[in-house]
């Protein structure tokens, strides 16, 4: 009887991945439509308020002004330099956080001594708002890209570490026994057992790290005032170019959503085995 249920077609995706998605499709469609409607309502109200003069577009900008400035940004190419600067900062910061944080977290989680030594430190660093370190980091590293990358790492690595350490500590001991009994090397045990077993935790950590890292990058740019999207928003606002400032914020919003979606995709892709159907 069980065999009959399990005769999955041998195409790439398994039945489990497809069936619920297919059932969800109409509802998901509806969900997206409602979301767009909500956005449209807010933009409509904003436009209305500026058009009838309830608020002054000099201070608040307006959707029409925003989209005009956005088109100008793109056609003139003015947006690419700050955008690529911000994306480079985020990519380096997050990338270095992952390369250092994931193996470090796995190792800390497997060692009682290391965990005991580092746990209070990591908790404190996670709890303290990282922006208070900005002046110190500027003092240490200046206001160049290097310093902005440091603040992204500072923002991103602690939530990542907390999650990876938790995953590593909760690692089912029987998986390690299997690896041990069949004489798997330490490296294979780490790569083929510990890493996939903790991947739900790791990706939850990555999700938080990416969110905080992006905020870190923007805050650093606002504060250090030398380059990037944060600096652009700051500069345009100082010059009373509210349409441009709002357009820059819209670009940041798109970046934020794209990053969140990318992480969500990886979570689905690599941890589908852990979600019970």
């Amino acid at each position: 009887m069980a065999i009959a249920q399990l005769s999955t077609p041998s195409s790439g995706t398994s039945v489990q991945e497809r069936t619920p998605a297919a059932q969800r499709a109409p509802r998901r469609h509806e969900h997206v439509m409602l979301g767009l409607l909500g956005l449209a309502a807010v933009f409509g109200a904003w436009q209305l308020c500026t058009s009838v003069g309830i608020v002054d577009p000099t201070f608040s900008s307006s959707p029409v002004g925003l989209f005009g400035a956005l088109v100008d940004f793109i056609t003139s190419g003015e947006i690419w330099k700050p955008l690529s600067s911000t994306l480079t900062t985020v990519a380096w910061g997050i990338g270095l956080s992952l390369v250092v944080g994931i193996p470090l977290g796995l190792v800390i989680g497997r060692s009682r001594v290391l965990f005991g030594l580092t746990e209070p430190l990591i908790s404190i660093m996670y709890a303290v708002p990282y922006v208070v370190f900005l002046p110190v980091i500027i003092f240490w590293f200046g206001i160049d890209q290097q310093a902005r990358i440091v603040i992204v790492i500072w923002a991103a690595i602690f939530p990542l570490l907390i999650n990876v350490v938790a995953g590593s500590r909760n690692l089912d001991i029987s998986y390690l026994h299997v690896a041990h009994v069949y004489c798997a090397s330490r490296f294979l045990t780490m790569r083929a057992v510990a890493l996939p077993a903790t991947s739900p935790y790791i990706l939850a950590g990555v999700r938080q790290a990416v969110g905080r890292g992006l905020v870190g990058a923007i805050v650093a740019e606002l504060f250090m005032g030398s380059a990037g999207m944060g600096y652009l928003v700051q500069k345009q606002t100082s010059n009373f170019q509210m349409d441009e400032a709002m357009a820059a914020i819209a670009v940041i919003a798109v970046v934020a959503i794209a990053l969140t979606r990318a992480v969500a995709y990886f979570e689905r892709r690599f941890t589908s085995w852990s979600t019970s159907t």
């Binding site: 069980a2 399990l6 999955t8 489990q16 299997v178 009994v181 069949y182 077993a197 991947s199």
Partner: protein, 279 residues
Amino acid sequence: MNANQSKLVVEDLRLGHRSRLNGKFTTACEDLSFDVQKGEFVAIVGPSGCGKTTFLTAVAGLMPVASGRLELDGRQLRGPGRDRSLVFQHASLFPWRNVTGNVSFPLQAQKRNDEKGKERVRQLLELVGLGDNGNTYPRELSGGMMQRVNLARALVTDPELLLLDEPFAALDAQTREVMQSELTRIWQADEVSSGKTAVFITHDVPEAVFLADRVIVFSRGPAHLVESVPVDLGRPRTREVKRTPEFLAITDHILDLVMQQSDHGMRSASHGHSATVDA
């Protein structure tokens, strides 16, 4: 069966856990001595918590020997080895790997996952009745199917000594019955593993008698040997053997021994109703 050739030698073996909290040593086995012959299928039964699983864990190399001899082919066992495989009590399959990936893991770990290895994996999946389920993930498998994968994973390395830790204990009665027959079938059918030595832990006495050439009865913990009971039932065995008077006589004898250990002499009048020792 090649008689008089000891595969596994256990002599004056002492095993136990040292508590991390107070450093106190809890003994699981003491003065434990017996041999397992080459090609023999031995089942170990004993009261719950007597240290059977601890013993098997030590043979698998997951636990150090406190003192005494524990030798495979004349070499004292220190840690896990390629010559042994363990069929885990709870299948312990990797949920992120499909069936083929799980069965291949020991070959991958031992750098033997070449064409020959892949062919062996296919052949074993066919043998355990999962030939069409290579791409299936563990969460889609039933308990019985998981244990088939668990068994195939253990056999894939062609171990000298196969260790089975109550592999059917968590299965429902019918599935367990089927899996017992399947294990004997696989044991008799697999050219590579037939003639291999196996140690099977169980608390189910009829299961032990059905599967084994010899049943070893452990005492209450700390475990030592109570009796070694030969099972002179022919092979190949099918389910029908369980209704023969010889089978029932051996089973009764072993149940008596285990019950004496469980109750420490106080015979329970109800034991006739239940076949399993810890019921």
